[in-house]
């Protein structure tokens, strides 16, 4: 019987405490709302800065921050390969918000000169700073079906946010692509006026999942809204128990 599930937040830089706070809130809500599904499992939330700390984790959040900085710091610490192993070989549940989504993408455009290193895991190409500079940052209500029927829109905070501009097909060299779960689009932002994407009316992809890898363009951790954290912890619970994701539990 599983007693403890350790969830780490990558703490190289960025909005770390915000995620830890919301995770704790989500865990206590989960405990009180559905004690049975919990079955005495205790969540442990911890900051991750080193490879041994990462090895302790059953699941990981890569928070918002500056993805260029995170990649550079992770490289210097020798954390990039252990992170790739965690995501792509061990297939442990991972969630990236904003910069974290960039890190989890296989490709990124509008990167710094010379490009930037990524962890990968999601067969998508992200476009950094999709909406421009800080003055174009915004909050918008998103309908997120995976949160359940009839749920209120989620007040999503987009700060110099990236979006998923394309789902890519893994090349033949990526044998790990065989039998890989498909990329599911879980959230779309349909812009108001000036944010119309080139594919008219389709809107921007701002939440995706592929197998155990989940990414959002926006920052749930900057709100008091605990719903996505609760949803994700439930997924983590399932994966740790059964070793795989319950596809479309929502």
């Amino acid at each position: 019987m599983i007693k403890h599930i350790t969830v780490g937040v990558l703490a190289l830089q960025g909005g770390v405490v915000e995620h830890l706070n919301l995770l704790r809130k989500a865990a206590s809500q989960l405990q009180s709302s559905s004690p049975k599904s919990h079955d005495g499992v205790e969540f442990i939330f911890t900051e991750v800065r080193t490879t041994p700390q990462l090895a302790q984790c059953d699941a990981l959040i890569i928070p918002g921050g500056e993805s260029t900085t995170m990649a550079i710091v992770a490289r210097r610490l020798g954390l990039l390969d252990p992170l790739r192993e965690f995501v792509k070989v061990q297939h442990k549940p991972v969630w990236g918000t904003c910069a974290g989504l960039v890190m989890l993408a296989e490709q990124a455009s509008a990167t710094k000169q010379g490009g930037q290193e990524l962890v990968g895991g999601l067969d998508v190409r992200v476009l950094r700073n999709r909406y421009g500079t800080q003055i174009q940052s915004f909050v918008a209500g998103l309908d997120l079906g995976f949160l359940g029927e009839g749920e209120q829109p989620f007040r999503a905070v987009f700060i110099r946010a990236p979006v998923v501009e394309d789902v890519i097909t893994p090349g033949p060299s990526q044998t790990e692509g065989q039998g890989k779960a498909p990329v599911e689009v879980l959230g779309v932002y349909k812009g108001e006026g000036q944010h119309n994407s080139s594919e008219q009316g389709k809107g921007d992809i701002v939440a995706v999942r592929q197998g155990n890898v989940f990414g959002t363009s926006f920052h749930p951790e900057l709100t008091g809204d605990v719903r996505i954290h609760v949803w994700w912890l439930k997924q983590v619970l399932e994966v740790v128990r059964h070793g795989e994701l319950v596809v479309n539990g929502a």
Binding site: G15, E66, T69, Q134, I135, V157, I159, R160
Partner: protein
């Protein structure tokens, strides 16, 4: 260092402020570097800076040249914006509403209403809540920090004494803020709202913000170190004292022998800030950093030569 960082007005936080303060939250644990050219901005970005501060002269050179220090030329700011993908900040003079409007129109990501430039208004700071762009402001104590937040600042930094390479003033300022917060907590615990109201009168700030600070046990926005950070150990010291991240003004490019030396310094300070509790990392960073800027001792400055006293 728990708790989400949002100053409250009537118990709610506006979306507008969430966005402004949110960017600062995403910079935590990082280093923001002063740069004067696109080439320097690229060095900073490659070293892992979370943002750059675009200005015409680094503070140590402003100090040396004297005269009136103003907002930088927009053309130079544009070149820096074009060169990097990380956020670009720029400085406006204290109280200079129009410089702030120009910087907002330029699309910089943050405005620093800064005592490093010559103040434009000897009574008022800019009403920062009127702007869509977020502001960072310096402080020497809690009262000053909360006055700036009340005006709409979404990020705070210590003033320190810019351009000296002497960390002593920045240490004094963060220690003072910490001591003031401890007083606010004690006042709230002992005398409740009356205690908060009395302390708010004494230090000259908004009582609601003071109460929120006492409850949080920290400033209600992100608080960076600035003013005198010259070495990796300086950066780590400021993190150790409770700062959320570090501005490095003159410390990267002043007296650097070559661009490569500046790049090494920049990398070393990023490393020390990210791993300020890891002694081995601090040893490596200190070796990589090499010779620091020569600097000038704060104790040898005349009162009129100090920048930290600017601001009201």
């Amino acid at each position: 260092m728990a708790a989400n960082l949002h100053p409250e007005t009537n118990g709610t936080v506006s979306d507008d402020f969430t966005i402004k303060a949110g960017l600062a939250q995403m910079l935590k644990g990082g280093v923001i570097m002063d740069v004067t050219t696109a080439a320097e901005a690229r060095i900073a970005e490659e070293a892992g800076a979370v943002a750059v501060m675009a200005l015409e002269r680094i503070p140590s050179d402003i100090r040396k040249m004297g005269g009136v220090a103003r907002m930088s030329n927009p053309e130079m700011i544009k070149e820096i914006q074009a060169a990097v993908t990380i956020p670009v900040m720029a400085k406006a003079r204290i109280g200079h509403v129009v410089e702030c409007q120009i910087l907002e129109a330029l699309g910089v990501d943050y405005v620093d209403e800064s005592e490093v430039l010559t103040p434009a208004d000897d009574q008022y700071h800019v009403q920062k809540s009127d702007f869509k762009i977020p502001f960072v402001c310096g402080c020497r104590n809690l009262g000053e920090a909360l006055r700036r937040i009340k005006e709409g600042a979404a990020m705070i930094r210590t003033k320190g004494e810019a351009g000296t390479g002497d960390i002593v003033e920045a240490v004094k300022h963060i220690r003072t803020v910490n001591a003031d917060i401890a007083r606010a907590k004690a006042a709230l615990a002992t005398d409740g709202d009356l205690g908060i109201a009395a302390l708010a009168r004494e230090i000259g700030c908004d009582a609601a913000l003071l109460k929120q600070t006492a409850e949080l046990g920290r400033l209600p926005v992100v608080n960076f170190a600035a003013g005198g950070v010259a070495t990796p150990a300086d950066a780590a010291l400021m993190m150790h004292l409770g700062c959320d991240g570090v501005f490095v003004g003159s410390g990267i490019f002043k007296d650097a022998e070559t661009p490569e030396h500046a790049a090494k310094r920049a990398r070393a300070i990023v490393k020390a800030t990210a791993h300020y509790t890891d002694k081995q990392a601090l040893i490596e960073a200190s070796i990589e950093h090499g010779v620091a800027m020569k600097g000038i001792s704060n104790a040898g400055l005349k009162p009129e030569e100090k920048m930290a006293g600017r601001g009201w």
